[in-house]
């Protein structure tokens, strides 16, 4: 699923852009060194193919819904990881600009989430391990399914982590995580089925194409060490950032709850999944009580002051918006007038 600008903080967006940018530069260098330029048009046209393929979708029996191809793993199998990463980056860029999928800041996250995991983790560590020795139909299916599942799970994990560090959602980390990973399970299965189907179709009709990409091993054989170093850096970065943000503002709801109820955490049962729900119930049950009991003069004054600023803000905002509307219309009228004169 595509990450969106609206869910991101500048720090997270910037870090993910840095990671994506480094990977892009690394891939470009790798391709430049190891490649004849035959692959350049192939990459371009394959990117366009992914686009066209995403437009076609098929009916999933007995559900009434439809599935289509994501494409990261298929690209990795046909082009090798570096070329696949660049191709996917270009596809996502076009989607961000023309179909407004996510936005410009989130593009860094999207390229990383949807590209890095399938190309540099799932493909070399799973797909290649399984199919390297001997390519059979069974191994092909197994390798593609496993790689697609892992790739998509990692990608959605990326979305969850980035969103959570950015802190724009009230949804707790664990429930968001469960939701996203669960949604991406069937998506991963579909992706695996489609990729396996297309690759085996290619294998049956034109086996030399797969052999060729298989023989192009200097591109595909990315040293494992580099991948691990990259992952380590990413882990440290996210870990460091996560703890920094976590210490700066602990979950707002929990804090307010603790203050509101005046009860120590120990009182609540310690099962992690349960507490959230219980806290919610407790909050909705206890807050009115709290309001009646403790709302004193300073509380209402504070509220009044707060309302004052927000009213002022909204009035000002409305004025600015009206002004903008007016300005835009006038500019447009003037421009059109001039255009007619020029003609």
């Amino acid at each position: 699923m595509h990450m969106a600008d609206a869910l991101l903080s500048p720090a997270v967006g910037g870090i993910m852009w840095a990671a994506t940018g480094t990977t892009i530069i690394y891939c470009s260098k790798k391709i430049k060194h190891s490649l004849d330029d035959r692959k350049i048009p192939l990459m371009g046209v394959m990117g366009a193919f992914i686009f066209a393929a995403q437009m076609i979708n098929f009916a999933i029996p007995a559900t009434g819904s439809s599935g289509h191809l994501g494409g990261g793993l298929l690209l990795a199998i046909l082009l090798g990881p570096s070329a696949a990463f660049l191709t996917l980056a270009s596809v996502l860029t076009v989607q961000a600009l023309f179909f407004a999928d996510g936005g410009l800041l989130a593009l860094g996250c999207n390229i990383f989430n949807l590209g890095f995991a399938p190309c540099f983790i799932a493909y070399p560590l799973i797909y290649q391990r399984i199919t390297r020795r001997r390519l059979t139909a069974g191994r092909l299916l197994l390798g593609t399914m496993a790689a697609a599942l892992v790739g998509l799970q990692l990608g959605s994990l990326g979305v969850v982590i980035q969103t959570n560090i950015s802190g724009m959602l009230s949804l707790s980390f664990s429930s968001f995580l469960l939701l996203m990973q669960a949604i991406h399970l069937p998506i991963g299965i579909i992706e695996g089925l489609v990729t396996a189907g297309v690759v085996s179709f290619l294998w049956r009709t034109r086996p030399e194409i797969l052999d060729r990409t298989g023989a192009d091993q200097d591109l595909a054989k990315l040293p494992l060490r580099n991948v691990l170093i990259g992952l380590g850096v990413a882990a440290i970065l996210t870990g460091g950032l996560l703890s920094w943000f976590a210490s700066e503002n602990p979950d707002g709801l929990e804090w307010s709850l603790l203050k509101a109820t005046d009860q120590p955490e120990l009182h609540l049962p310690a099962t992690a999944g349960k507490t959230r729900l219980e806290k919610l119930q407790e909050q909705t049950a206890l807050l009115p009580d709290y309001g009646f009991r403790q709302e004193n003069q300073t509380g209402t004054e504070l509220a009044a002051a707060k309302t004052g600023t927000t009213v002022a803000g909204l009035v000002g905002g409305a004025i600015v918006l009206l002004f903008g509307l007016l300005l835009g219309t006038i500019l447009k009228k003037v421009g059109r007038h001039r255009g007619q004169q020029n003609r």
Binding site: A6, I24, I40, F58, V94
Partner: protein
Amino acid sequence: MASKIDKVFYDIGRLEILAEQNSPIHRLDPRAKLLVTIFFVLAVVSYGKYAIADLLPFFLYPAIIIGLANLPVGYLLKKLLIVSPFVLFIGIFNPFIDREIMVQFGPLAISGGWVSFASLLLRFSLTVGAALLLIAITSFPAVCGALDKMGAPRILTVQLLMLYRYLFVLVEEGIRMIRAHALRSFSRRRPRYRIYLQLLGNLLLRTIDRAQRIHLAMLSRAFSGEIKTVRQFNFGRSELLFLLLATGALITLRTTHLTDLLGRLLLEISQ
């Protein structure tokens, strides 16, 4: 299904036609517009979770650009509405979880969740709108050129240009296949899994063959690893002015609470 895809691609074509106009904004160097768009997005997302009033003045930027570049507002709005249900889908949880009362307008109490949800929507329309505007005033090849000039890896920009060039060709090929399938399957809306795989596989084979032909054609026209264009890049005085004005305005907006000041002033005058 085919007609729906037709429409989507007509849409892309429309954005490109908008980019071909001739206005003061369109005439600016793509690099200036790309930079301003990036600054704009950064400024918008740098606000906190509950910002609403502070975000409103940022709508001045699209208003001014739409006015100066003579863009159809309705079309852009429609495009905004169609896209990315993801933000809505995830953001709608906010009001149900974050129920602490944040704002009180007389009897009407608004919880933090609704405030942050509204903020999310504002943020979404501003940032996504900025990306759409960039294409509508710059055109995709020009953005690629700007990226290239600003130091993006050559292979990436070449790849972007190639993808863009063959996008329409391959999508048309895909549409033909879907149409053929629909004609032979009593207008079943979507192909079944097996047939879908064959469609996709055939499309892939055609794609690979096409890439080979393109490569030979490029080689016979002296392709050396980069696409050469005749587009002139010129970062002159008007670009500098645009960049300074825009960044100045963005910094002012980011550092002051314009709406709040304005609102207070008005309320004081009226009292």
